[in-house]
Assembly symmetry: C2
Homo-oligomer: 152 residues x 2
Amino acid sequence: MTEAIDDTDRAILRVVQANARLSAGAVGRAVDLSQPAAWRRLRRLRDLGILRGRELTLDLEKLGFGVTVFLGIKLATKGRVSLDDFERAVTAIPEVRRVEHVLGRYDYRLRVTARDLPDFERVLRRRIMALPGVGEMEANVLLSEERLPGPL
Amino acid sequence: MTEAIDDTDRAILRVVQANARLSAGAVGRAVDLSQPAAWRRLRRLRDLGILRGRELTLDLEKLGFGVTVFLGIKLATKGRVSLDDFERAVTAIPEVRRVEHVLGRYDYRLRVTARDLPDFERVLRRRIMALPGVGEMEANVLLSEERLPGPL
DNA sequence: CTTGAAAAGAACTGCCT
DNA sequence: AGGCAGTTCTTTTCAAG
């Protein structure tokens, strides 16, 4: 099991993280490696599970979903069954784009998308409030966000 | 400005969101379109800015960053200058992977990555606490998360 | 919008240093 | 492990119906 990641690997990760569309050849040029060498490293990183599937970012605003709200939710009833029930129910709501199980003031943190505030109110009342075991709740409306490269 | 998105476009978006790796030909097969037709629609969606760059998901755990913490931060001092100062300082912290400017109980939500809890404490004390204008703060440790397809 | 074909480019393989 | 050269595949792109 040689899971050794060296500086060249890290350089590659930095590059592909910024632009996932890049081919092995282009990555090689960026980190000063030949095309096959870069390709071999990329495949290795994929095999190691470090480089996982690509993801396509959609501009939800342009699709008419202009409102994003983060919901912090505390469950009233705990226990394994409650968590499972809650997760099953929450993942079935189309407007929920992300479910984060967390430790702290809340048990779950949801990222919810809606067309506008009236639409969000509908989702909140009809779907979120109907979730099993929901206790305290808190909402934060997203104004803007920025993704950063991160460590490495 | 004809930003008309029809059902076929939405079908395409659903497909590519599920698997960003496949292009034109495969997408065409999935939504029952010829390869060039699907390709034209994809390019149009890209030109409209709806389909934004691909993103490569890294397995941060396998890279030794096993701890993810969400920080809710309330600024003690507001005003345009404070926000700008805070954002400039916070985006310079390597461990901060995401900055969300929100409305509600907190002003900002940060996604912070660390190697382990001692490492997170270091980031918290040396970097986060040193941010200009930080008031009340709340932390949630990530246990697990799930991404969902979303509406469309 | 479709089919069909040519051109371009990327992925992969051996072999050698 | 990296580079070179070559093969094979996919994808893009164009022409014509």
